[in-house]
Symmetry: C3
């Protein structure tokens, strides 16, 4: 693996999930692999889980880590070409990325979308430019349209917690939930992309429940069944992945904060004792009812813990391809 | 030791002081103890000494360290239960603490009090919730009402610098000093709590000098003698611990900025060549006169240096109990 | 070497350049040298290259590193003596530096000038005080008037890229370029100081091109030839070091943003295929034309990469003098 941006960078989902769970059992079994190798973690936006879990994953592989918070430690980057830089941006991404590539063997980059210019966001303009100019393997720590380390984690967690027999496949539902802010589509896009692929690989069944107007790009949801009725969709579900997102069609718009879509116990009890997932941070009693998060149904903490093993499996593969 | 929050977590003061001074002589003698163990340092408030000394202590024990500045690197935490999270807080402490506990073997947490709601502050609401939800050993890097790593350091420094013979016990005075801001009671509370205990263990004599209205909670000062006359109290003193704090009674209030209480050479010369201590940062010529800080009487730098050995002794004990 | 502040700390330029290039070939050949030694990197101002390259250099030498961003992680420092600290500064540099010296074996300090009080800036008041009070070897990560790690890097890069035979010496030009902000003289001062010394050591020929009014202090430019005509100065040049700076004479003033001084292809083609250098960050199409930065003429990325080896050579020398 030379970079990690989407599910397309993985040839066999089951294999990397197994590899991640193996690392979970023996976290320091590849302590020599990353020796003398530098991971740079570049944050253009805040981060808790990604920041901590990726550092831990790298240290488990014996790597050195430098964290760079561009906004606080550095300055604003220019991403557009052909601009006379006489404004607020201090350095062009062409130089910034290239320089960081001089210091690092692998870079992880977090960058949220503007939610203003859909074309620019969905072109993954910033991520692609950074990748082009840094000239070292680049890992997405969440980009404008995807959060692949989260999605790999999600698949690991489903595999790890699924108690059905090998002839049964879990039914997985991505369920929109309300929020007060306009949020990116990166997590649901990425989740849909990974779950569609997992469905193709015969690992699970996937569908989506959401209010009208919140349709994600079909680039990610593909042939997935979409239901506009949460109560209907939730029946016979084994995993509910709850997440808010803003409109893709009317880009970045929030139509309404519809509390009917918050996951609560009344809805949950109509499922097949479904496990509840969320990428976190989650706003309690707005997105998911507190009593669910505090119950055995919630696996959000285990899920967050698994971020380490997803990151470690990805770093391990990239290190192996560097060392070749 | 499973957590470190107050003097109650230490069974024998003299023993941990000796252990700390032993580590000062041989800083890297337990370099294998922390191998593969992760310390997370979580700052909800600024820090210099605590941040640097605790990192150094952990590295001396072979641990890995991740620093998380919640406000800059992350976001605002909700600490209240039963709140619909549709405001400025992005993540609940229940999730944030639990997730960090997934990544860390030991966590250090710094969090200042609000100085608005005394009950909430003195219940140590935030620290206790974090401890409950993170589910790994938690070390206070200063909480709402205590700063135990500082107090252990203070005791180490007194022991290290005391030149009296073994039949003599040093007279230690905690002396209030003026400031322009409303400051927490954490450092003086904690110092009083530790000195009262050291007095019970026959290590020293302890008393307090302060203007009326600044009485600390008797939970911390216990039976300690309180003087309202600094010039009287200072006589025959071997150590003066200078510190400002705001009112406990009229919670958070600053009655006056009374420069008569600033420690200066005139007052100092009436002591038994007392050594002057302060937790730092100290505002010169407001809290303590510059010429004292620049003189041999001041041991504030040595005291700050000892923060490493206090932190290392505490981390060592927790690691030993984890490894059991 | 006991500290690193200016070219005066180096006795033989060619030797440290060779040493740096040797480290570039074998980055981890001194991995034991820094074992158990702590480097503190203290930033009073933002940094990307210095932050990352110096961390990497220290890790290559087996050191531990703590990064302290004073403004975000800590608080404002008082640098003046005799001040009653009842304002915005929370800690005096006397204490802050002394305390950091307790935790670190070597400290790196970045601090920009005020550009208001020339005497204070050019006295290197802050750097000198920090050096005096921290009592451990101090490395400038850019001070008010100098950026010696950058200048050493620049010399390394010239040596590394020079393709002339041993009887030829490269002609090096420092060329002022426009900017919209008032920038320090630290980089050009330092570059001039190092190039004048390199000229004395018979390594190269050095001159300066700039508009009238931007004369640097002769403390740094010494006998260097100054041209006020860029087109004339640029002929027969092998290296053009482009950089903006504000006025030294009318301290901190920007007379004009004269785009005639921007380096573009028309000017560049009159040189002897000169290589273009800049310390970065560079504002494209304001300071240097984009098409130059994107061409083979630009060596700014290689130059930035060399920051690691300059820092590592300096750290290595200081560690060797500590270990003696």
């Amino acid at each position: 693996m030379n970079s990690f941006f989407s599910v397309k960078d993985i040839d066999n989902l089951d294999k990397i999930v197994e590899e991640s769970l193996e690392l979970k059992k023996n976290p320091r079994s590849y302590l020599k692999l990353g020796e003398g190798k530098m991971l740079g973690l570049v944050f253009l936006n805040p981060s808790l889980r990604t920041r901590m879990s990726t550092q831990k994953a790298a240290l488990n592989l014996g790597m050195d880590v430098i964290v760079m918070n561009m906004a606080q430690d550095g300055w604003a980057l220019e991403t557009q070409d052909g601009v006379i830089m006489n404004g607020n941006t201090v350095e062009h991404i062409r130089e910034a990325a290239a320089v960081m590539g001089q210091y690092c063997d692998i870079i992880g980059l977090r960058s949220f979308p503007s939610l203003k210019d859909r074309e620019e966001d969905y072109n993954e303009d910033l991520f692609n430019k950074f990748k082009k100019y840094c000239q070292v393997p680049l890992i997405s720590l969440e980009s404008a349209t995807r959060h692949p380390l989260q999605s790999l984690t999600d698949l690991i967690t489903i595999k790890e917690t699924w108690t059905g027999n090998s002839f049964q496949k879990p039914n997985v539902l991505l369920a929109w939930a309300p929020h007060i802010r306009s949020l990116p589509q990166a997590v649901p896009n990425s989740f849909a992309e990974w779950m569609c692929r997992a469905q193709q690989e015969d690992m699970l069944n996937f569908k989506i429940a959401q209010p009208k107007g919140y349709e994600l790009s079909t680039e990610f949801t593909q042939e997935a069944e979409i239901s506009y009725d949460l109560e209907e969709a939730i029946k016979n579900v084994d995993y509910i992945y709850v997440k808010n997102w803003s409109s893709y069609e009317d880009y970045g718009r929030v139509y309404s904060i519809d509390q009917d879509w918050m996951l609560d116990q009344n809805k949950l009890k109509t499922t097949r004792s479904a496990k509840v997932m969320h990428c976190l941070p989650v706003r309690r009693d707005l997105v998911i009812a507190s009593d669910i998060l505090d119950s055995e149904s919630s696996i959000v903490i285990q899920q967050a813990g698994n971020r380490v093993w997803a990151a470690q499996a990805v770093l391990k593969r990239i290190l192996e391809s560097i060392n070749k």
